[in-house]
Symmetry: C2
Subunit: 192 residues, 2 copies
């Protein structure tokens, strides 16, 4: 790497996204894509609400009920599901800050079990993984990924596994994560 | 109506369910049924979490993040979806305290639009309506109900419409709302 004229090393610039927004960019991009799919009636796919255990609710006069004590719950399913071309669609989406591998701790065991169950019943199910510093997003078929996870004996999936076994999802201004283009090619055997 | 010997009129006894639990019995029954279906690997159908707009979160030391301000949001879809026999399943469930008709104000316009959209894409979609004082639960096909709603010019669906156009859902101790039995008969043309 060429250094600056003052002799300092050029540092890799990091994404200025704040801590609170970490992992949210992919979610926003998928939501925007889903809104677009819905607006042109191509598919009906939604993010499920964040599961929350509500403990206390105030009912103030003349205004909306206010939740004053609640806790995040572990999701028992994946974040996204819906219908496309008559098929049930189910997927989980994760951002990955590490360049070299995707840590498996970010996917819960019951989410794996859920993906296996919907596949047994005929779903199209997959993972969407974005390597944020590479700015590349992959679609990995759920059963292909799960078979690897079950047999690899590792705590992470190496980046190379994605380049060889998953599909890059194209970016588009109105469909930032145009995953249905990949779904058409992979699950409906077409060049869409 | 025959009066009591003391001359007082017999009053209709109301269900002692508290205000907070109103409308929750059907939800509990459906959740129990879905848990059973999941346990025998018959279907994967879940209730979506209640949508909540989170405003403030406390992160106390050494304990779980606590949501201290949040508000209920209007759901943009129905409450339940999943997969059964390879088909995408989508439904909304409502309890109805009125004996004679089901008030349409309890179903939002965007839920109707959502049900129409998933039907266009090939879903099996329906309403589950329980008339609580009659203790009877019906499954009404979504498009059949929506076509009636669009043309009837009424603010409610009369009870008789359900007896003529919907299907009674059998009760079972382990499957309190055994709606897949009706789904088999209505959408898969079988006597299950």
């Amino acid at each position: 790497m060429v250094n600056y004229p003052n002799g300092k090393k050029a540092s890799v610039t990091h994404n200025p996204t704040s801590f609170a927004d970490r992992g949210m960019t992919l979610e926003k991009d998928i939501n925007q894509t889903n809104d677009y799919y819905l607006s042109i009636d191509r598919a009906v796919i939604h993010k499920k609400p964040t599961p929350v255990q509500i403990v206390k609710v105030d009912y103030p006069m003349r205004s909306a009920a206010k939740i004053t004590e609640a806790y995040f719950k572990l999701p028992s399913t994946t974040d996204y599901n819906g219908i496309y071309r008559g098929k049930y669609i189910d997927f989980e989406a994760k951002e990955c800050a590490v360049n070299t591998s995707f840590p498996l701790k970010s996917i819960h065991a019951h989410q794996i079990a859920h993906l296996e169950a919907v596949c047994r019943h005929g779903a199209i199910a997959f993972l969407i993984v974005r390597f944020t510093s590479r700015n590349i997003t992959y679609l990995a078929d759920a059963m292909t990924a799960i078979n690897y996870i079950r047999t690899c004996g590792r705590r992470s999936i190496p980046y190379e596994w994605f380049t060889e076994n998953a599909y890059e999802i194209p970016y588009n201004y109105v469909r930032p994560v145009d995953y249905l283009k990949v779904v058409d090619e992979v699950y409906f055997r077409e060049n869409a």
